[in-house]
Symmetry: C2
Subunit: 306 residues, 2 copies
């Protein structure tokens, strides 16, 4: 069995109030697979890059035990490139450059060795590409987690709804949950979205944590208050990767494990933002991760005897 | 020993997307004392109204065991009046009318019978009036909780800082914490504000819950996701009243009790917004409160074994 993560592998150039980077390796599949690798050592990626992607860039994945057989390298083409500049509050950003390049005609080819997929993470991409991946897997995975964004709601809602219907867990932010449902109350929004197909809905609220909805149950996960947010790029993908990596490790899908998975995902995301790009995700120790989880426990525990 | 709550007692006219009210009894001291009365039956208010305030209005307090000896009734004058209209998102509102009336020259007189005060809640008022109350108490209370707002930061920061220096717990929202400290990160903001005098800082984040800071400890309390927010008026004051009422009941000030107090305050605030004005706060049963607390426990509990 395996965990497959599909998404962008890209070059990013990031500017924040704390500094700027040249082109560094980024993309949803990069952040998510690195995060997942801390819990599950058989993650496999499906993505596409150009021949500007170097062996050293691929080594980032292999060093973390991530299978890159599904990483297509297009000769004579360039990798997806994104450049953005964060404002002082770090909560909003301007996109300076978006060059789709290889992403424009991305056909997600699933290697035969990936057909044992039990856990599937669909990183943010066009709903059609996400759906194609599901259809190309001979057996329906045990768990399909889908990330998406407002952009697809704006321009291809029908395709999006069709794909949402096929997944188990949807992860979106609060504004997107409101847009997708047409409801301001997140409780009402969640009820509608759970009616669209997914059994679980995760609403990401950035510095305010995350909400998990399932049937009539709700879990509210805190975010760790941080003194410095150095670079928020990839935090959502890191969250999703840690989330599904933890579930793939424990192997049982239920509300309690989902709650823990959200805490693990949040913990990795809290590391991610402490340095530029993927830097902090490259060399975390088990002790660092356990220490951060302990901080989440202390942060939210209280003891009322009724 | 007793719990004193100082703040406005007022008439409010409220309009929300769900309806509107004529003049109803509102004000910070009203919400806070009603909330406190669920935990502590010797709350006493210090406030001022005009002779438009009827016996039936006073009965709201006495029915909840709240001592109104410190409620001054000014003959020939009118009570503070506020009218506001909430937008569709219920997170923002326009103030339509503010008539200070009796509040303009409010001199907070402390009855002799109030001098046993051990717990003092300073509802949002001018920093000078808040400070006067502290000075008029012969013995420094065991715990002073202060609420304030951005308005005083804009126009009388020096007076505000002088008052803040005298209290144990400060409650403000996230935007106010940023304004008061000049720091965007709430961790850095809290560090600066705890350096201004208070031993505890509560940052209220509305639908995103609340953060408690004390020395190097942080507690993140969830807010209960609600399907309907009918009228948010008074939610912050209800929170503060439930918070200090619970602490007055348990009688010991420490971080664990503060955490529980925040959950109790949040639970009462979640009731408050379910109906117009104080309506929902008038007749809660112990079972309803306990049930709501249980919802907070379920909402935030997770179990990770490290």
């Amino acid at each position: 069995m395996s965990l497959i993560i599909i998404g962008t592998v890209a070059f990013d150039a990031i500017e924040t109030p704390f500094g700027k980077t040249d082109k560094i390796v980024g993309g949803a599949a990069t952040y998510a697979s690195l995060a997942a690798s801390y819990f599950y050592n058989k993650a496999k990626i499906v993505a596409v890059v150009g021949d500007d992607f170097q062996q050293a860039d691929i080594d980032i994945f292999t060093a973390h035990g991530i299978d890159t057989e599904g990483l297509q390298i297009k000769a004579g083409e360039k990798s997806f490139f994104w450049s953005g500049k964060y404002h002082n509050d770090m909560n909003s950003r301007d996109t300076l450059v978006t060059e789709l390049n290889v992403l424009e005609n991305f056909d997600p080819i699933i290697p035969e060795s990936y057909q044992d997929c039990e856990y599937l993470m669909l990183g943010n991409l066009t709903p059609q590409v996400q759906q194609t991946v599901i259809k190309r897997l001979k057996n329906r995975p045990k768990l399909i987690v889908m990330d998406t964004m407002n952009f697809w709601m704006d321009i291809m809602m029908d395709d999006l709804l069709e794909t949402i219907k096929m997944v188990d867990v949807l992860t979106i932010n609060d504004a997107e949950a409101r847009q997708l449902s047409g409801e301001y109350s997140l409780v009402k929004a969640a009820k509608k979205i759970l009616g669209m197909g997914p059994k679980y809905l995760i609403i990401k609220k950035g510095e305010h944590g995350a909400l998990l909805f399932h049937e009539d149950q709700i879990f509210s996960a805190p975010a760790l208050p941080l003194a410095e947010v150095f670079d928020p790029t990839g935090a959502g993908d890191t969250f999703a990767g840690g989330f599904i990596g933890y579930l793939a490790k424990v192997g049982t899908i239920n509300f309690n494990n989902m709650k823990n998975a959200i805490i693990y995902g949040s913990a990795l995301a809290s590391f991610c933002v402490e340095k530029f790009g993927t830097e902090k995700l490259l060399n975390l120790t088990d002790e660092e991760v356990a220490g951060r989880i302990q901080e989440f426990v202390s942060l939210s525990a209280f003891n009322i005897e009724l």
